[in-house]
Amino acid sequence: MSEAAAGAPGHTEVHRKGTRELIAQAIVDSFQKFHPAVQIRNPVMFIVWLSMFVTLALTFDPRLFGKTDVTAAYNGFVTAILFFTVWFANFAEALAEGRGKAQADSLRQTKTDVTARRIVNDDTFEVVMAGALRKGDRVRVERGEIIPTDGEILEGIASVDESAITGESAPVLKEPGTDMFSTVTGGTRILSDWLVFRVSADPGHTFLDRMIHLVEGARRQKTPNEIALTVLLAVLSLIFVVVVATLKPLAAFLHINLDVATLIALLVALMPTTIGALLSAIGIAGIDRATRFNVLAMSGRAVEAAGDVQTLILDKTGTITMGNRQATEFVPLPGHNESDVASIALAASWYDTTPEGRSIVALAVARGAKHDPAWEPGQGVEFTAETRMSGTDLADGRKARKGAVAAVARYVQEGFKTTAPAELKGAAELVARKGATPLALAIDGDLVGVIGLSDVLKPGMRERFAHMRSLGIKTVMVTGDNPITARVIAEQAGVDDFVAEAKPEDKIRVIRSEQARGRLVAMTGDGTNDAPALAQADVGLAMHSGTVPAKEAANMIDLDSDPTKLIDVVAIGKQLLITRGALTTFSIANDVAKYFAMLPAMFMLALPGVSALNVMHLATPESAVLSALIFNAIIIPILIPLALRGVRFQPTTANHMLARNVLLYGLGGLIVPFIGIKVIDLLLSPFLR
């Protein structure tokens, strides 16, 4: 996770855009957000915004609502603080949106109108604008051209530069028929050769369109959780409106005349303005963190859902393991020692160029085997599905072979009339039990030993799964391997459960059974046959290299096509929710100190005993009210970095996390304003005398 929290190194041009530029843009945008249509979307800040106009009117005419002792300057001061309170909130949101907006702008440039060759019939085509293409049209693109829209490749083979979308500069080879790499994305550039593809998206619904839509925070839909919190904050604000509005008649009964500006100051200080101002920024920044991590979330809801995930379903190959098997051990059969096996293995693999073959050579050399010049000139024998063996016909006439245990045993039986030793089966099982795939090794009729090929775990996976477990997230590995191998890998990686000999449809079965037990499930996938499972899962992360159906079924797309990122996405989701909760707690806890600042200030002249509540010993009533209000305003920009970055997140149990956050943001929220208000009062009061 740490990488995501720190902000992964960005790829695209946008991410290099300077912070200073972003801030400058945010300042401009923040003034536009004073528009009532924007303000009304945030009920808490809307009340502050309205209050600002009331105090502004009072600045021009302090006696607007009746007799009062306060001066226009005081009202003006309150108005200014309210203005800054709203402006800080606008700025927080504008800053959060800035990065996405800049990215959207650069994506839009990619989308500048291009022409396309639409195929009319088998050998004629017409040139049309990209916007005229519809689903099902066939289009031909050639070297150097921008691919006009999304599609599935029908013919041709070409390398494509997808950096505009993924930020990855290395070209990708595209060809039809493969589950992976058989789709093209509008806005990418074809570097060599040509392709014919069938358009898979209507204008406005292409991947690029969706991406632009998503990275632009402005049109972002609020998530249900965010709406719920907004409602709660609005109701709290409404309660305080009632409290403050009724305070005037209550005080009037005691012959105390409360100034409207002071009442408004009390209202704004008590309302949860801190979280109200930062709520939107927190949500946008959360999605932005995912985007910067090159994961495109289809909605904010998807990011939040990731935080909720309780079960991760992960493919073994490519996600948990490197995906290419490597030789890890030689097991000699009776009559041979390990160096014999290493030597024959070297001979059998000398001409083998597959990664597995190279790994056998590397292991053999590491075990001290040397290439014997007497073998030369040898003849490499390639693997076929029929023989299930490969090897080398050596110059001295001997035949070195390695392959599936049963196939090699049959080979020595049929070719050399030797029966495989009884120990072969035991040795092969020994290897399999360790999670490796056994290859039998023979030279002529002599079975020398067994080579163990293991799928190597990606580094750090064990720790990551341990983190997941401490968060209460169960990991399930899905693999086509036999149960013995699967069990070993599962144990090595530290996943909680595994499904061996899995067929594609098993994934959806696993998801359903987990969901039936009340768990929220996340999975990754790329193939068309993953699409139903991606749709069924609560969080489906599709690889960008995957097929169109997979990408459409998923609610997140990883532009880097790295399935392990699912784990990071979970952390990003959690961090988003924690930040929201922590700042809400902080904001509400602040009220205690504000009460102690403002209530004595409002009543200590009329009810002298009440000054005993002035525990902060604030200098004057005016200074107390203004200090609390100023604190209420400046805490917003102080917390903007935290809102955008997210609070620190460490994988640990829920109880631990709660204890830490309650201590930090709850207790902190109680204490900090006492100090802050006192400090502001000390600085401010000399000027008010």
């Binding site: 959780n225 109701v235 309660i239 409290v243 009037a252 005993g609 996390m657 709660l658």
Partner: protein, 582 residues
């Protein structure tokens, strides 16, 4: 505080706690249709009632709307019945003192008050109501309003329960209603009423006895069926007295023993319902946490109230009065307290009465010290220091939903409570429920204080006068019924405004909470993992408590500062009466 006072608090709480646990388990058995010892006796009785209601009606499963509709319909019909009885009592039997019909506004206020378990009384019982009215319009709704409170809480508990096959079903209102009446409220009344009679409480249809005094002359002493009313008045946390003096009257509360019985009766049902909750939702540890938080608040309230009253006032000290307990003297602030109860039993009784939203009083709250009076006020503002049976637990759970929502986010999950996701709908509804209470307290209080018809009822000016009005509307909104006294409520303005506040305070929050229950019941449960927020821990209990204080109580701080807090500081700042009310 004297050791005697300390031990009285501790022992009474321990006894109430000890009764509440088995009682809570018994309640759970009743509502989960498990066997109880009383079944052989009560099943035929219930069967008879079911036949009257209609067996099909009692059998059908109800979703939250059905449950709420059943509750509202039953309450409306009973409310109209009460209104009718009061308005026609001059034409009805058992009216030995020939009281006239109750005027419409007072009848409305009284009907609203008693059907909602509030028991706010703008009338003096012995000088207004016939014996028939006392029985049919006062004692009768004391049973049914208590039953209503319990069953809505039970419906809510069911929604959070672990059974997965019931879907949206919250149970059957009518069946629950009957079972709670026969199995929980009627039976104890049969057994405890004779004990109160033994302590000196009358139970008769004679309206009045005339005593010939030793010093000459005669005294007319009103009486009636008092003892049974006393039992359900406290067991059902109702609080409405037969007499105007309520439990300070020697017929309602004759001896320290009857005082102890009444205090314990008030506490057991709301306390037991927390235990019932734990058992019905399958998390007894959570119930223990809730019980602990509520009990802590109650203990603090008791110590503050008893301490404040025992400490007395600087005014009396100034007058040279001895205020320390000892030498056969109770010391402290004895103003408005009965000698047979003393400081401690008076303060405990009133603290319990406002915590459990009973509202009965055995002393005059108007004469309490500012802090002592404020304890009662704050408990009604919170309305969940155990609270009235059922609704108190619901209020506490409402704050729990907010605590879960915020704390849930802080552990990086969209919030869940007992395996149910707390989402937009629940928070919107809970927010509305939260909004009702301050709204219906503060707005009418402010209105009363600036209108001539509001102010003219006041017995005091200044902060104490403000406290009287604030107390009245808080008591009405919390469906407590406790009166600060000093305020003449029997005016058109207060009859109508308090009546409406009472109705809103009762039904708005119940309907919102039932709607939440309906929404939660329909949700598929989410499995708990170590990544799930644990609500059954001391840590979360503390957070829950903080939520109640910061969200619930701070709302009322400005009002409290102008009322009792100002009065408190004035008392200690000036040591003169002129400082109390200007």
């Amino acid at each position: 505080m004297s050791p005697a006072a300390f031990w009285q608090i501790v022992l009474e709480l321990l006894v109430a706690g000890a009764i509440s646990v088995p009682f809570g388990h018994y309640l759970a058995r009743v509502f989960q249709d498990q066997k109880t010892l009383l079944d052989p006796v009560l099943d035929p009785v219930d069967g008879l009632i079911y036949r009257l209601i209609g067996r099909d009606v009692v059998k059908q499963a109800m979703d939250w709307k059905g449950y709420a509709a059943g509750m509202l319909l039953t309450n409306l019909l009973m409310g109209l019945l009460i209104y009718g009885i009061l308005s026609w009592q001059g034409h009805l039997p058992w009216n030995p003192l020939h009281f006239p019909d109750v005027n419409p506004l007072l009848a409305f206020n009284t009907a609203a008050s008693f059907i909602t378990n509030t028991n706010w009384q703008n009338y003096g019982g012995e000088s207004t109501l016939s014996l028939f009215s006392q029985m049919a319009a006062i004692t009768f709704p004391m049973f049914t309003s208590a039953a209503t409170g319990v069953v809505v809480a039970i419906a809510f508990f069911r929604a959070l329960g672990p059974a997965r096959d019931k879907g949206r079903n919250l149970g059957n209102f009518y069946r629950d209603f009957v079972r709670v009446l026969t199995r929980v409220f009627l039976l104890p009344c049969l057994f405890i009423t004779p004990i109160l009679v033994w302590t000196g409480s009358p139970e008769t249809l004679t309206g009045m006895v005339t005593a010939h005094l030793i010093q000459g002359g005669t005294q007319h002493i009103p009486m009636g069926p008092v003892a049974d009313l006393e039992v359900i008045k406290h067991l059902g946390t109702n609080g409405g007295g037969f007499f105007n003096a309520n439990s300070a009257h020697p017929f309602e509360n004759p001896t320290p023993l009857s005082n102890l019985i009444e205090t314990l009766l008030m506490m057991v049902t709301p306390m037991a319902l927390v235990i019932t909750f734990g058992r019905m939702v399958g998390n007894r540890k959570l119930a223990r946490v809730m019980y602990g938080v509520m009990a802590s608040m109650l203990v603090v309230a008791m110590f503050v109230a008893v301490g404040a009253e025992q400490r007395g006032t600087p005014l009396l000290a100034h007058a040279g009065l001895m205020q320390h307990a000892g030498g056969g003297q109770m010391g402290g602030n004895m103003v408005g307290k009965e000698v047979r109860f003393g400081i401690t039993q008076s303060a405990i009784f009133d603290t319990v009465s406002t915590a459990f939203t009973t509202g009965s009083v055995n002393s005059a709250l108007d004469s309490y010290t500012p802090l002592g009076g404020m304890v009662s006020l704050v408990q009604m503002m919170l309305n969940c220091v155990f609270g009235g049976k059922g609704v108190g637990t619901l209020n506490f759970l409402m704050y729990g939903l907010f605590a879960v929502f915020i704390a849930g986010l802080m552990v990086g999950r969209t919030p869940e409570f007992l395996g149910k996701k707390i989402e937009k709908r629940e928070i919107v509804l809970a927010s509305l429920a939260l909004l009702v209470h301050p709204l219906i307290i503060l707005i009418p209080t402010a209105w009363s204080l600036v209108s001539p018809y509001g102010v003219s009822s006041l017995g005091n000016s200044g902060s104490h006068g403000l406290s009287e009005v604030l107390y009245a509307f808080t008591s009405a909104a919390a469906n407590n019924g406790s009166a600060f006294a000093g305020l003449n409520g029997n005016t058109p303005w207060y009859n109508v405004s308090l009546g409406l506040v009472i109705l809103f305070g009762r039904y708005a929050s119940i309907i919102f909470m039932l709607a939440i229950a309906g929404s939660l019941a329909a949700k598929p449960p989410v499995q708990e993992t170590i990544g799930t927020l644990k609500t059954d821990t001391a840590l979360f209990g503390g957070f829950w408590f903080a939520t109640i204080i910061v969200v619930g109580a701070l709302t009322f701080l400005p009002g409290l500062v102008l009322g009792p807090i100002a009065e408190y500081f004035a008392l200690y700042a000036h040591h003169t009466l002129s400082g109390v009310g200007r």
